[in-house]
């Protein structure tokens, strides 16, 4: 099966910096992937290229099997919701109406129920919307378009926690009914973690982690407790980080724990906390995690 999104050797250079450097990526159709990374890592540039709004300097990009740039056969099956979308001087209702013309799978009922959920008034000028309301408009278009490839770039900037939950719930509910390929860039990693089938982390224009979310869950554990017991359990395993305070120590240990490990930890009074996706991403962005976790994690730094 060909991936819905496939990127090979993609580089985007601007006059004074390189936004993307030799990016290789394949997103399987019918999955939700998280595109994570720091500000300025290249997430938006990558999404803009996928949506045909920007051009690569070199490399190849295929969406639904064809290059997206200037290709309406691809573009009508692709929706891109961007944080910094510039709208003309139109009203909310007009923006939705225009979207309904362009997307063949547009669902008006879904759009109006999202409008209700977000309290988005159709007669309000887009320019007069608050930041959160503007995000709500983007989300409404992105979900109601029911496009085979749905790209969200920080879709909920300025949205409150309740509205964000509405977004997650509606995305999952509609995704279950109409599966599609979703690539979602966000900084609220732990909040969105449950959505992701796959996770791509980019840092300074390079992919530093590309893994299935299931492979990342429980892949690293923070072990804390008495020094000797911690060291005994961690012995012979890769360790990302070690902190000590008197007789107590805390290490981040890489690798899955066997039932015996857990039993040992319990009997020596050790506290085990699986590392959250966000913490893994932070380490990936710092260059600690190797791009392919299934090939085994590399330990590049062991701090005492």
């Amino acid at each position: 099966m060909t991936p819905a999104i496939s990127v090979t050797g993609l580089t985007r250079r601007y006059r004074d910096h390189t936004a993307l450097q030799d990016v290789n990526l394949a997103i399987t159709g019918g999955t939700i992937a998280g595109l994570l990374g720091r500000n300025g890592a290249g997430k938006t540039t990558l999404l803009r290229i996928l949506a045909g709004q920007e051009f690569p300097s070199s490399g190849s990009v295929r969406v639904l099997g064809a290059p997206p740039a200037e290709n309406e056969d691809v573009l009508r099956h692709l929706v891109f919701v961007r944080e910094d979308q510039v709208y003309p001087e139109i009203k909310v209702g007009q923006a939705l109406r225009a979207a309904s013309w362009f997307y063949p799978n547009w669902n008006a009922a879904l759009a109006s129920s999202l409008q209700d959920d977000f309290g988005l008034r159709a007669d309000k000028a887009v320019k007069k919307l608050s930041r959160g309301q503007r995000s709500a408009l983007g989300i409404t278009i992105g979900l109601a378009a029911r496009a085979e490839v749905t790209l969200f770039d920080e879709p909920y900037a300025g949205l409150d926690a309740v509205a964000r939950q509405v977004f997650y719930d509606r995305l999952l509910a509609d995704f279950a009914q109409f599966p599609r390929t979703v690539l979602l860039s966000t900084h609220l990693i732990d909040e969105a973690a449950a959505l992701f089938d796959g996770v791509v982390v980019i840092d300074r224009g390079r992919v530093v982690l590309d893994a299935a979310a299931d492979d990342l869950r429980g892949v690293a554990t923070r072990v804390s407790g008495p020094c000797l017991a911690v060291d005994a359990l961690a012995e012979g395993r890769p360790v990302w980080e070690r902190r000590g305070l008197g007789s107590q120590a805390s290490v981040v240990m890489v690798g899955r724990l066997s039932p015996e490990d857990r039993e040992r930890a319990r009997s020596s009074g050790l506290d085990l906390t699986p590392l959250s996706l966000q913490q893994i991403v932070v380490r990936a962005a710092a260059g600690v995690v190797a791009p392919a976790p299934e090939a085994g994690f590399e330990t590049e730094r062991t701090s005492a």
Partner: protein, 217 residues
């Protein structure tokens, strides 16, 4: 619905711009009516230029304002450009018709009772109704496309690029003046000039199309 038509309809969603459009005319007309006859002659047709200038602004705005969301909606640059140009053409034809009608009224009322010449531009818009319509429509469409091209150049190369674009045209204008002062010019009828403008419009269309192909939002 054809992609071009969708783009044209999407552009038409900014009613303010298209409502302002006809209002330029009465304002310019009022100024013309007040000032006509104060000097020798009653020719106020220069004010009609404001109508054409507004068309250039309209063309420019379609790029700066409508292009980003247009591409987000999945229109290709090609469709956006063609659809917008199509809208410009329709507006030009319609506005040309209005100008033609107003010119007929001006003729019938002896220059609005003031012997004023507003819709009768000497040489250019002063012939039969169909000639006026054709010349006005071609002229309006030309400045609309010209405005679009400015918008695209600004999108791609910013202020410096736009200045360079203007500078480059200075050369074209110099060349134009050389041609105009050469003897052949005087042989050209108003309709012939319309033909020249139409040919220029085709060049402008091609230039804008070549420039928008690599525009980014």
């Amino acid at each position: 619905m054809n992609a071009w038509v969708k783009v044209a309809r999407y552009n038409l969603m900014r009613p303010a711009n298209y409502l302002v459009l006809p209002w330029v005319l009465p304002f310019a007309f009022a100024v013309g009516a007040v000032t006509a006859g104060r000097e020798r002659g009653n020719d106020a047709s220069g004010y009609l230029l404001s109508f054409f200038a507004y068309f250039a602004v309209l063309g420019m705005q379609t790029i700066g304002q409508s292009l980003p969301f247009g591409l987000t909606l999945g229109a290709s640059r090609r469709s956006f450009y063609s659809g917008t140009a199509l809208l410009g053409l329709a507006l030009a034809l319609l506005s040309g018709l209005v100008l033609t009608a107003l010119q007929a009224i001006e003729r019938a009322t002896g220059g609005w009772g003031l012997s004023m010449q507003f819709f009768r531009v000497p040489y250019l818009l002063n012939g039969a109704w169909y000639a006026t319509w054709l010349t006005a429509a071609v002229g309006l469409f030309a400045v609309f496309v010209y405005g679009m091209w400015y918008g695209i150049v600004y999108n791609r190369w910013g202020l410096l690029g736009t200045v360079a674009f203007i500078a480059a045209q200075a050369l074209v204008i110099v060349a134009g003046v050389v041609v105009a002062t050469s003897g052949h010019w005087h042989a050209l009828t108003a309709l012939g000039l319309t033909g020249v403008i139409a040919a220029l419009t085709v060049l402008l269309l091609a230039g804008g199309h070549a420039t928008i192909r690599r525009a980014t939002v």
